[in-house]
Symmetry: C2
Subunit: 359 residues, 2 copies
């Protein structure tokens, strides 16, 4: 099964994406399950629910554990420098733990009740338990990295490097969430502020995902930094697409609530760009978003009007172009790193998928 999976990657790059995602998942999930198994009850059950492995009663479920873009990138980052898939998988598991720590906490902080078509953990198990499980996942990420030298070829000095980089990424992600939360209470946010927030919130961890295998393998700083730049810009492209899906995505496909971002008055890129444009639609939008009345209780029609105004003011087109610009910058960074052609093509295929995805 695993052999077939790996051979199937050896096809046209864009056809390889499902297999690349599946490979990352296949390599990282056993490590994640082992790590989650160490948690005290009921945290193990709650984490398994969150990852989509079980239902709320702890019964096995065929859940949607997310796209698993980060594990796939981590595995490629090991292959890029000639390291083992296992090295990449250790890094991928750590990244996935940090990512899911942030989802558990952010869902609670943002009041989001649905993720991947299921009730979020805090709505099922309560805020205290969801926060605590998030805390545990964050600590487990460091633990998984620091244990690597016990059972793999990874050196202690490289795990220290990896922990340092993942910790900086985690802190940037937390900074980004603080900025995002505070933006909801601002009437307007500049495009620059929004890009800074998204760079922190998404760029840092994607940069880490795209380089952690190389870090664990002891690669040169120059290689690591170029891979980080690739991941950072890919993260900005990812977030731009996320912002588009947050307004114009199909809830049936994204698994997220309709108009969720508009209801929360998120100052995402399309909104910031529309507010900056200054024309008629932009001014009308500015007025609506500054109005404290009905905050959080807007009906479908009001939200649809806002979406139309954002589009009319060019926020949708600008964000789409921004995703393309970031995508291009990411690929330029990738070109700086010597690596096997196949690995480069797979990185590029994942990047194209991230920009074109519908969920």
């Amino acid at each position: 099964m695993t052999d077939i999976l790996y051979r199937s990657l050896d096809v046209l790059p864009h056809l390889a994406v499902p297999a690349l995602l599946e490979r990352g998942r296949t390599l990282c999930t056993p490590r994640l399950r082992e790590a989650i198994g160490r948690l005290a009850t009921p945290m193990d059950t709650i984490a398994a629910y969150h990852f989509g492995w079980t239902d709320r009663d702890g019964q096995p479920a065929v859940g949607d554990g997310g796209k698993a873009v980060r594990p796939a990138l981590a595995v490629l980052s090991a292959q890029a420098v000639g390291a083992s898939l296992e090295t990449g998988a250790i890094g991928g598991a750590a990244i996935e733990l940090v990512h899911n720590f942030s989802l558990l906490h952010d869902d609670f902080m943002d009041g989001d009740e649905t993720r991947r078509d299921r009730p979020t953990a805090w709505t099922v198990f309560g805020p205290a338990q969801a926060v605590l499980v998030g805390d545990a996942l964050c600590a487990l990420a460091t633990e998984v990295l620091l244990e690597a030298p016990d059972h793999s070829a990874v050196r202690t000095v490289d795990t220290a490097r990896a922990v340092r980089r993942i910790t900086v990424a985690t802190r940037r992600m937390i900074d980004g969430q603080a900025q995002d939360l505070s933006f909801e209470h601002h009437d307007r946010v500049t495009i620059e502020e929004c890009l800074e927030m998204e760079g922190n919130k998404t760029g840092g961890l994607l940069a880490c995902a795209s380089s952690i295998g190389a870090v664990l393998a002891g690669a040169d700083d120059a290689v690591v930094e170029a891979l980080e730049r690739f991941g950072h810009h890919l993260g900005l492209a990812f977030q731009a697409v996320d912002d588009l899906l947050g307004i114009w995505g199909d809830p049936q496909v994204t698994g997220k609530p309709h108009w969720g971002d508009l209801r929360q008055r998120k100052k995402s890129l399309p909104v910031s760009a529309a507010l900056a444009e200054g024309g008629r639609a932009s001014r009308r939008l500015t007025k609506l978003l500054a109005d404290p009345e009905g905050r959080g209780y807007e009906d479908e029609q009001q939200l649809a009007e806002r979406a139309a105004l954002i589009e009319e003011a060019g926020g949708r087109a600008w964000t789409h172009e921004e995703a393309c610009r970031q995508h291009k910058t990411a690929l330029a960074a990738l070109d700086e790193v010597p690596m096997p052609d196949m690995v480069r093509e797979h990185f590029a295929a994942l990047a194209a998928y991230i920009v074109r995805r519908e969920k």
Copy 2:
């Protein structure tokens, strides 16, 4: 000033405790302030409020930042192996960050509205912000350790050891909090379960505080492990005293709400011991705690009756004896480590203070 402080330690050990605590605070606070200063707004303000440095409006305050037992222990653990005060202070700052991460999260999870005589951060700034600042402090702890080789004599390989140990302690602390939360919904908890929970919740981090300076200095595992055992048992003594203060402490002195632990039906050591005793008072207590009626709405008189029943069933005396037993075991572990007499006496003085404190 600092010189006077250090010379003042050279007196009868029990007289040295205020100076030892002050020294730990003086050495660690600048490092904590520098680390907190890196956080994105408004997290820096919220953290400064939590640490007692500012009031809720960000104005400087002469706050009670807690006893600062952990920084004092960390500094001693460096001195024990002949390392610099700075090495101890780096470890102490990291431990204090993890400790305060847990306070911020636990206060929210437990619904505690007062700490150190002030409203808890989540009641002032909201749960989302308080949780997020806690997340940031936890990541900062790792960051502070990993940066040590950049500006001190600490080696990278020893920071990796220190991060591994603090991460394991953090995970145990989270396990302990999960157990503590679940105990509130159990009618009874055995003494063994309670000791396991308290070992996780308090013992792990005190073990780390009592050894981290030695770990950063590259001490032998045998030395580190003996210091950890000292800290673990000291942590259990600390928690036993905390449990006594949680019921019979003077709120004017502790800064915590009257009968707080009883109101939350915490299964602390005095309660577990009283439930295990089996006599008349024990049976009456069992009945009261199993009664779902009035849960959380008990009046002062009902809570006073419960405290009296716990005392009558021997829960208070047993917990006091347990604190003494753990204190003795801690000192035995300390004896295993060769260290200057003065440092040993200071460790012992802090241990005596922890067992005899009234807040």
